[in-house]
Structures are given as structure tokens and as C-alpha cells.
């Protein structure tokens, strides 16, 4: 080796070789196997859906995204009504679940005495453990009959707001029948909202409890009230987690199947009136039809499923990028 070669090397970044010992190698292997498996499963699900959906998508072309009706046998089908219905139910759910979760999480971290805290956390975990079919039963047999009069009242007084409009209600005549208001997007959304509340609450509680003590004490030391501390310290810090939790809840709401399936009565037109009887969602349609579909019908259902899969994926990526950029997200 000449002098020159050594000179050259000095000026270059030095290569650093990591020597790992066996336990580390093993552990690393197991951990990466887990990570790769998860990726692989996602990929497999996506590919499976795509392959199965291909015939239907090929047949329908772009009209798949604009058609409201669902009649694969008549070769006339699309996801327009399904997607709108799915998103509406999910939005209703999130609109109800997010304020409820925020309040609960704040109560637990900021106000509740220690015993109450333990009880509430337990109850919320329990709420998450109830199977969705039970929520569906509760929604169908209990909630629906009690909510219908409320929905009727809203329709009568706020029917001028487009989403609260119900055909057959004009605000002057008495309401002919409460069946107008059963099996609606609102009721399905409310039940789904109850189902996603625990997970959103848990995430929010987690981030709220991670607020740095220094900031909390700074705020209190300035004479801050509880409300002031929540406003200036807790919520700004927790923002990332709140968005993340909401997105996760939204993802779940979009996919919720059984409870929705039990409550709604399917319609295949875009139904923007959330109080009106009749609603639909992608997953409940799949549950409804997959057993009696021929292979082309199945392919159409797969195509609808694929669409939902991609939308959920997109939402999750959006959520994680928002969360990663925030303080509470960066720490967790």
C-alpha cells in the first residue's frame, strides 16, 4: 500500500462494520420476521382482492365508481351509493365518538379521583370487549325505538338543513309514522360511534397523560385554572394523538360490518338524508350478499371491498403522517 492510498482513505468517510453477537442476531431475526409478516399479509390481502375483483372491474369500467345501483347479474352495478353510505355512517360515528371520547379522556386524566379513574378505565376496556353483534342487537331492539322520536323531532324542526331532511316530513303536518326514521344512517352511525369510542378514548387518555409535568406545573404556577391548563397545555400537546385516535376510529367505523348490517335497511341510491330510513355500506353489503352470489357477483363484491381497503389504507397513512409530525405523536 502506498502513501497516496492512505491519504485518500483519510479523506473518506470510514466504513463501520457492526459485529452483532448471537442473542442480538436471533432477536433481531424474530422481530424483523414479525414486521415482514405483517407487510406480507397486507400485500396478500390486497393482491387477493385485486385478482378477484378484476373481472367485475373489467366489465364495469369507470362506471363502477359512478353507478348507484347494485345489480351484478344485470351487469349494472357500482359503488357510488355504497361509498357515500359508508362514509356518512362513519362520519356520524366519528362526530359522536370524538367529543364523547375527548370529554371522557379529559375527565379521566384531569378530574377524576383515583378510584373513579380505575373504574372508568375498566368500563371503557369492557366497552371495547363487547362483540359488535351485541351492539347491533342493542341498536336494533333498544336504541332504534327510542331514537326514532328524536329523529322525528329533528326532522320536523331542522329539516331545512339538507342532511336532516326526510321525505314525507314538511315541518307543518304531524308525522304520519315513525317507521320513516328507523334503520337510518343516524342510528347505524350512533351504534358504530359507541363501538369506536373506547379505542379513541384510550389513545387520547394515553397522550393526555404524557403531557410533560414541567409544562403542567408552569401553567398551574401562573395561576392557571383547570380549564386554562387543558386549553393551553393538554390539548395542544395531545393534538397529534387526538387526530391519530380519530383516524383510527374512522378506519374502524368505515369497516364496521355486523352492527350496521343488523340495523340498516339497504337502499341502493345515494342517501344523503341521515335521519331517513334506509342506508347502505360496503361491508354490510358484502355480509348481506356474499353467501348467495354467483362468481361474478362475488367479483363485484370483491371490487367494492378493494375500494374500501384502499380508502382505509389512505386514511391510515394520512393519519400516521399527521401524527408523526406532532409532538405527542413523535413521543409515542
Amino acid at each position: 500500500m502506498t502513501e497516496g492510498a492512505v491519504e485518500e482513505q483519510v479523506d473518506q468517510p470510514r466504513k463501520i462494520k457492526l459485529v452483532r453477537d448471537l442473542p442480538d442476531k436471533l432477536f433481531r431475526g424474530v422481530a424483523s420476521a414479525g414486521g415482514v409478516t405483517v407487510l406480507l399479509i397486507m400485500l396478500l390481502v390486497g393482491t387477493f382482492l385485486a385478482i378477484k375483483a378484476a373481472p367485475a372491474l373489467h366489465q364495469a369500467g369507470f362506471s363502477f365508481f359512478t353507478t348507484q345501483a347494485w345489480n351484478p347479474d344485470g351487469r349494472h352495478f357500482g359503488v357510488a351509493a355504497l361509498l357515500v353510505g359508508t362514509v356518512l355512517i362513519a362520519l356520524v360515528a366519528v362526530t359522536i365518538a370524538v367529543p364523547l371520547s375527548t370529554a371522557t379522556a379529559l375527565y379521566i386524566t384531569e378530574y377524576a379521583p383515583r378510584r373513579m379513574k380505575t373504574i372508568l378505565i375498566g368500563v371503557i376496556d369492557l366497552m371495547a370487549a363487547i362483540p359488535s353483534v351485541v351492539y347491533g342487537l342493542w341498536g336494533f331492539f333498544f336504541l332504534e325505538s327510542r331514537l326514532a322520536p328524536v329523529a322525528a323531532w329533528i326532522a320536523q324542526h331542522f329539516g331545512w338543513i339538507p342532511i336532516f331532511k326526510v321525505k314525507g316530513v314538511d315541518g307543518h303536518q304531524p308525522i304520519s309514522s315513525l317507521t320513516l326514521f328507523t334503520s337510518s344512517t343516524l342510528i347505524a352511525g350512533l351504534v358504530v360511534g359507541m363501538m369506536i369510542t373506547p379505542v379513541i378514548t384510550s389513545i387520547m387518555r394515553e397522550v393526555f397523560s404524557q403531557v410533560p409535568v414541567g409544562e403542567r406545573e408552569a401553567a398551574l404556577g401562573l395561576g392557571g385554572t383547570k380549564a386554562g391548563v387543558i386549553r393551553t397545555v393538554v390539548l395542544p400537546f395531545g393534538k397529534g394523538g387526538m387526530i391519530g385516535g380519530t383516524m383510527l376510529g374512522l378506519g374502524r367505523a368505515l369497516g364496521e360490518t355486523i352492527a350496521v348490517y343488523m340495523i340498516i335497511s339497504p337502499v341502493f341510491t345515494i342517501q344523503p338524508h341521515i335521519l331517513q330510513s334506509g342506508a347502505i355500506s360496503v361491508s354490510s353489503l358484502i355480509a348481506l350478499q356474499f353467501a348467495e352470489s354467483n362468481s361474478f357477483g362475488l367479483s363485484a363484491l370483491m371490487a367494492a371491498g378493494l375500494t374500501l381497503f384502499l380508502i382505509t389504507l389512505l386514511i391510515n397513512f394520512a393519519a400516521s403522517s399527521v401524527v408523526a409530525r406532532s409532538r405527542s405523536g413523535a413521543s409515542s
Binding site: 409544562e215 406545573e217 401553567a219 385554572t225 393551553t232 409532538r327
Partner: protein
């Protein structure tokens, strides 16, 4: 930006300090700039703070035993003593931060002027407003700008103020903390971008914005380099006379430099902390009466 000068604002004349709680009705009904300003700033004059027979416990563990200390109006009182002898605990009792620790308890009285801040009719938030605190680790609100930090106390206590008042308070408090010249051109940048020493002075400004009667500081320079330490000490010097200051420090030179009076805390092995000796700083350092004080201030303590 033209700011009203201090003299242009007619603050109400200061009532004699014997008049009881001046700012019990905190939320001003009138939200005109002048009313808000005088409500926010009160008619603050430094006020004497007097701790009487303070005992403190964490659970069953007694950490302070019958500690009495008078911190005179407008003077700087330093609390010195070895680690774990209860200085921070004592300081946090002075503005009711002690009670934030679960299972913490205390007895005794803390008199601000002639009002016991632990009296049943006293609100904890009002005690903390009048007795501000600067912590060991600089803790500005990181998501807020320098400007927002300086006046964060307004938001925290639910006081609305308009732009003119805010601008005035920001400049005034930053000047008090000797930070104004360094940050005047970047008031709207995040506070996290300041150096440690600047952050600590921002915390002083933030506490000063609501014109407290007393300012408590728990080792405010222990996380800072010597230059920043010097700036904070200068700031303390500037504030002398405007506000009653209580500072905990492990740095004997610092105690000697900044304080008018000194109190030496000590906890014998397994015993709660007590004040061994207190008095004018010159006496404490020049001619301490107690041998333990002499050993400690001369750095001969175990």
C-alpha cells in the same frame, strides 16, 4: 408599533399593603384596555411573605419541621442547604404547588401581607397568580411563540385583553426579564428556539407579566451556563424592589451575590428539615453564629 409608556397609563394608586385581598374579584367586568391592564397588573407592590410554623409531609414522611421565615418586601431571600433538606418543598408550599403531589400535606400558615393564602376563603389560583414561580428546568410552552408565552398567564386565567394591552404587557415583561432587546425582532417565533438562558428569562417574563407580589425561583440557574447564569442574576438584581424574591440555590457565590437575606436549611439524618440559621446575607457569610452554617457556606460540609 407604538406602545403606551408606563406613565401614560393611569394605574390606580396603590392601596396600603394592609388592605386585604386586592385581586379577589379577578375577572374584570370592564374589558377596556385600561381596565384589563389594571386588573392584570393590579396595583402590584411587592408584599411581604411570611411563613409561620410550616410542617410538611409526604405521606407519613415528615420533611419540614416548624419552619418559620419572613421574606421582607422587595428583598431577595436565598434558601440554601444540602440536597434533600426540604428547600423545594418549602418553596412549593409558599405558592400552594405542594398540594399537587398526591399524599402531600402541610400545616402552618403562609401570610401574604396579612392574608393567609391557605385560608378557607382563598382561591388557590389567586394565590399562585400573586406568587409566581420559576422552575429549575426552563419550561416555556414549546408550542407557543415567545409573544404568546410572555402573556400566557392571561389565557390561563381567562382574562381577555386586546392587542394594545398585550403588546404592552409583552414588551414590559420581557424588559423586566432583560430579554426584550434579544428577542424583539422574533417575538412570533417558537419559544423552543431560544437558548436555555433565554428560555429561563422568558419564564421569568411570563411570571412577571401578571405582576406578582412575590417571585419564587427554584435553582433557576442550575441548568444554565455561566454567562446565562450571570444574565439571570442581573435580572434578579433589576427586579429587586419591584417584587419580593425567594430563590433556592446550591451556589454559595450566587447566594452571596444576589440575596439580601439568607436562610440555611438542614435535615439531620432521618429527621425533617429545619432552618438552622437565618439573617442578612452579609452576616450569614461573614459571621455565622452556627458552626454548621459556617461549615456549609465555606464548603466544608459532607
Amino acid at each position: 408599533m407604538s406602545l403606551p409608556s408606563e406613565t401614560a397609563i393611569a394605574l390606580p394608586p396603590a392601596p396600603p399593603s394592609s388592605v386585604a385581598p386586592r385581586r379577589s374579584g379577578w375577572r374584570p367586568a370592564d374589558t377596556s384596555p385600561l381596565a384589563v391592564l389594571s386588573a392584570v397588573r393590579g396595583s402590584s407592590v411587592a408584599t411581604e411573605l411570611r411563613a409561620e410554623e410550616i410542617n410538611a409531609w409526604f405521606g407519613d414522611h415528615k420533611v419540614l419541621d416548624r419552619v418559620s421565615l419572613t421574606m421582607p418586601t422587595g428583598q431577595v431571600s436565598a434558601l440554601i442547604g444540602p440536597s434533600g433538606c426540604g428547600k423545594s418543598t418549602f418553596l412549593r408550599i409558599l405558592n400552594r404547588m405542594h398540594e399537587l403531589v398526591p399524599a402531600a400535606s402541610m400545616s402552618g400558615r403562609v401570610m401574604l401581607g396579612d392574608q393567609d393564602i391557605y385560608a378557607a376563603d382563598q382561591r388557590v389560583t389567586s394565590a399562585r397568580r400573586r406568587i409566581g414561580m420559576v422552575f429549575q428546568k426552563p419550561n416555556p410552552f414549546p408550542a407557543m411563540s415567545i409573544y404568546e408565552n410572555a402573556i400566557s398567564a392571561l389565557d390561563l386565567t381567562g382574562v381577555r385583553a386586546d392587542r394594545v394591552v398585550k403588546d404592552f404587557l409583552v414588551e414590559d415583561s420581557l424588559r423586566k426579564a432583560s430579554l426584550w432587546e434579544e428577542v424583539r425582532h422574533r417575538l412570533h417565533q417558537p419559544a423552543g428556539g431560544l437558548s436555555g438562558g433565554q428560555q429561563q428569562r422568558l419564564c421569568i417574563a411570563r411570571a412577571m407579566a401578571i405582576s406578582p407580589d412575590v417571585l419564587l425561583m427554584d435553582e433557576p440557574c442550575s441548568a444554565l451556563d455561566p454567562t446565562s447564569t450571570r444574565r439571570v442574576e442581573d435580572t434578579i438584581g433589576e427586579l429587586r424592589g419591584q417584587v419580593t424574591i425567594v430563590i433556592v440555590t446550591h451556589n454559595m457565590q450566587q447566594a452571596a451575590r444576589v440575596s439580601d437575606r439568607c436562610a440555611f436549611f438542614l435535615a439531620a439524618q432521618g429527621q425533617p428539615g429545619v432552618i438552622v440559621e437565618q439573617g442578612p446575607t452579609d452576616d450569614m457569610f461573614g459571621s455565622p453564629r452556627d458552626q454548621r452554617t459556617r461549615d456549609y457556606v465555606e464548603g466544608r460540609f459532607g
